[in-house]
C-alpha cells in the first residue's frame, strides 16, 4: 500500500515537472510558429536551427559560461562555505546575510547595478563581465547547498584527525570534502541551472560581443518565439538524458552515482 502511494506521488510530481516540457517538445514539431494551433508535423525547425547564426553563437556562449561559472563558483563557494562555517558571531552573520543579497535582489537590479559598476570602473563589457556576473549569482547557491552538509558534519571528526597527526589541509581534503560531497554536487547543479537560464543579468553585462540563449529567446518575444528554440531545447534535453544514461551504465552496481 505504502509503495503504491509512493509511486503515485512521485508519478504526479514528475508529471507536474514534465508537463510543460512535453508541451514544449510537441511545439517543436508544429508547422506553425503560433502556439494557438497545430498545423501539422515537421522537422523544419530542427533544420533551421543550424542555419540561424544568432542561435548557434548564443548556444556556444551559454554552455561555455554555464560550465565555467559552475566550476568557478563551486570551488570558491565550497571553500567560502567551509570558511564561513568555522566563523562565529557577527562576522559569520554578516557573511551569511550579504551572501543572500544576490538571491534576493530582482535580476534587473543586479544586472543594472553591475553594468553601472563595470562601466564606472572603465571595464569593457564582454565575456569576462558576463562570466563575473554569473559567478556572482551562482556562488550563493553553492554556499546555501554546502552549508547544511557542513552543519551535519560531526564537528569533532576534523579535530580528531588533526589530533592524530593530520595537517589541516589533509583533514580538509580527505575528511571534510568527501563528507560534504553531496552538498557540493547539488550546489554545482543549482549553479549550472541558474546560469544556463539567466536573461536579465546577462543582457546588461554582456556588452555587444556576447549573448546567450535566454537573450535570444526573450528578444524574439515581440515577434513570437520561433520553434527553433523549442527544437534546440528538445535536443539539449535529449543530450542530457542520453548522457545521464551513459554515466549510469558506466558506474558499477550499487554504487552511488554522484549524490
Amino acid at each position: 500500500m505504502k509503495k503504491a502511494a509512493v509511486r503515485i506521488y512521485m508519478g504526479l510530481i514528475f508529471l507536474f515537472l514534465y508537463a510543460p516540457i512535453i508541451v514544449l517538445i510537441i511545439f517543436s514539431f508544429n508547422k506553425t510558429k503560433s502556439r494557438g494551433q497545430w498545423a501539422g508535423f515537421t522537422l523544419d525547425w530542427y533544420v533551421d536551427l543550424f542555419k540561424d547564426r544568432t542561435i548557434t553563437e548564443a548556444l556556444y556562449y551559454t554552455v561555455t559560461i554555464a560550465i565555467l561559472a559552475t566550476v568557478i563558483s563551486t570551488i570558491v563557494g565550497t571553500l567560502a562555505a567551509i570558511g564561513i562555517h568555522y566563523m562565529r558571531g557577527f562576522g559569520k552573520n554578516l557573511m551569511l546575510n550579504v551572501n543572500n543579497i544576490p538571491v534576493l535582489n530582482p535580476d534587473i537590479v543586479t544586472g543594472v547595478a553591475l553594468m553601472t559598476l563595470f562601466i564606472s570602473a572603465g571595464i569593457k563589457l564582454g565575456f569576462v563581465t558576463m562570466l563575473i556576473a554569473h559567478v556572482l549569482f551562482c556562488i550563493p547557491y553553492v554556499i546555501l547547498a554546502v552549508l547544511p552538509k557542513l552543519r551535519q558534519l560531526n564537528r569533532h571528526i576534523a579535530e580528531a584527525a588533526m589530533d592524530l597527526g593530520a595537517t589541516p589541509s589533509y583533514a580538509l581534503r580527505k575528511i571534510i570534502l568527501p563528507e560534504i560531497r553531496p552538498g557540493i554536487i547539488s550546489g554545482a547543479l543549482m549553479a549550472f541551472t541558474m546560469s544556463i537560464d539567466d536573461f536579465v543579468i546577462s543582457f546588461f553585462t554582456a556588452g555587444n560581443e556576447v549573448s546567450n540563449l535566454s537573450i535570444v529567446v526573450y528578444s524574439m518575444a515581440r515577434r513570437g518565439v520561433k520553434p527553433t528554440i523549442n527544437a534546440l531545447s528538445t535536443l539539449m534535453f535529449l543530450a542530457v538524458v542520453i548522457l545521464l544514461f551513459i554515466i549510469n551504465k558506466k558506474s558499477g552496481e550499487g554504487e552511488e552515482l554522484l549524490l
Binding site: 510530481i13 514528475f14 507536474f16 515537472l17 510543460p20 516540457i21 508541451v23 511545439f27 502556439r35 570558491v76 571553500l79 567560502a80 567551509i82 570558511g83 566563523m87 558571531g89 557573511m95 550579504v98 543572500n100 538571491v103 534576493l104 535582489n105 530582482p106 534587473i108 537590479v109 543594472v112 547595478a113 553591475l114 553601472t116 559598476l117 564606472s120 556562488i139 547557491y141 546555501l144 547547498a145 552549508l147 547544511p148 552538509k149 552543519r151 551535519q152 564537528r155 589541516p168 553531496p182 552538498g183 547539488s186 541551472t193 544556463i196 535566454s214 526573450y218 518575444a221 528554440i229 523549442n230 531545447s233 534535453f237 542530457v240 545521464l244 550499487g254 554504487e255 552511488e256 549524490l259
Partner: protein, 282 residues
C-alpha cells in the same frame, strides 16, 4: 580549525566589490534624481521613497510577500516527501532521480512559462481535456492560482535538493536506536529525522522564498498582469519606464523588509542560544 576561516576571505573581498558596491549604487540612485548617466549630476531627493510609501505600492509589496510565503510553504510540503522518498531509494537510482528532477529547469524559462500558458489557458490543454471527459472547465489562467502554480513549479527543485542532501546521510544509527527504544515511525520522524534535516530545510526555504518575492515573468504571463508583484513593478521601472530612481527605491525597501523579516524569524527561533557551530538554534 579556526584557521580555516581564511578560506572565506577571498569570497568576502569578492562580496565587497561585487555585492556591496553595486548595492551602494542602488542606494545612491534611490536617494537621488536626475540623469542616471551622469553620476555627478544627481541631486539628493526622497521623492522616490515618498512614492514607494503610497498605499498602492505597499499593497503590491504585501501581495508579493504573501504569495511568496504560500509558494514556499507549498514547495516545502510537496518537496520534503520527495526528498525523503529519493533519499530512501536504491543508491544507484538516487543520482538519476535527482538529475531528472533538476533537468526540466535547464529548459528555457520563457518557453516553460509559455507551455504552462498553453496548458492552463481557457482554451488550453487542461481545459480541452476536461471538456472531453465531461468535467467543467477551470478558469485558472490568468489568475493568482496560475501564478502560484508557476512559482511552485520553478522553485520546487531548489527546495528538494538541499533537503535531500541532508536526509541522504542522516546517521542510520540514530534511527535504529530510536526504533530499538520503541519509537514509532512517526515519532522517529518528528523527533529525530525532521530536526536533523533542519539545516537543509533552512537552505531550501532561503532559496525559494527570496527569489519568489522578487519574481516577475511568472506573474506577468500567468497572472495576466492583473496581479502585479513587486518584481513586476521593479522590472517595469528599469526596463519599460527608464525610471531607475523609483526602481531603486522599490528594491531597497524590498531588501529592507526581507532582512527585517529574516531577523524577526531568527529571533523567534533562537532561544538566545546558538548551537555548537554558531548557527541560531532553530
Amino acid at each position: 580549525m579556526r584557521k580555516v576561516r581564511i578560506l572565506a576571505y577571498p569570497y568576502s573581498v569578492w562580496m565587497a566589490i561585487f555585492i556591496v558596491v553595486p548595492l551602494i549604487l542602488v542606494l545612491l540612485y534611490s536617494f537621488t534624481e536626475g540623469d542616471i548617466r551622469n553620476l555627478a549630476a544627481l541631486r539628493f531627493s526622497t521623492r522616490s521613497y515618498e512614492r514607494v510609501l503610497e498605499p498602492i505600492y505597499l499593497k503590491v509589496i504585501i501581495n508579493s510577500f504573501v504569495l511568496a510565503t504560500i509558494s514556499t510553504l507549498c514547495c516545502l510540503v510537496l518537496g520534503y516527501p520527495v526528498a525523503m522518498i529519493v533519499s530512501r531509494a536504491n543508491p544507484k537510482v538516487r543520482g538519476m532521480l535527482i538529475m531528472f528532477l533538476v533537468v526540466p529547469m535547464w529548459m528555457n524559462f520563457l518557453l516553460r512559462t509559455y507551455a504552462w500558458m498553453s496548458i492552463l489557458s481557457p482554451n488550453g490543454f487542461l481545459n480541452r481535456l476536461l471538456e472531453v471527459v465531461g468535467l467543467p472547465k477551470l478558469e485558472i489562467m490568468p489568475g493568482k492560482t496560475a501564478v502560484l502554480l508557476g512559482m511552485i513549479y520553478n522553485f520546487l527543485p531548489f527546495m528538494i535538493l538541499p533537503i535531500y542532501t541532508v536526509l541522504s546521510k542522516i546517521d542510520k544509527q540514530y534511527i535504529e536506536a530510536a526504533s530499538d527504544l520503541g519509537a514509532s515511525k512517526a515519532r522517529t520522524f518528528f523527533r529525530i529525522i525532521l530536526p536533523l534535516s533542519i539545516p537543509g530545510v533552512v537552505s531550501g526555504i532561503t532559496m525559494v522564498f527570496l527569489p519568489a518575492v522578487s519574481t516577475f515573468v511568472i506573474s506577468g504571463l500567468l497572472g495576466g498582469g492583473k496581479t502585479p508583484l513587486i518584481g513586476d513593478l521593479i522590472e517595469q521601472q528599469f526596463m519599460w519606464e527608464g525610471n531607475w530612481h523609483f526602481g531603486s527605491s522599490l528594491s531597497i525597501i524590498l531588501m529592507v523588509m526581507i532582512l527585517i523579516s529574516m531577523a524577526i524569524m531568527s529571533r523567534i527561533d533562537r532561544n538566545g542560544k546558538q548551537d555548537e557551530n554558531g548557527y541560531s538554534k532553530a
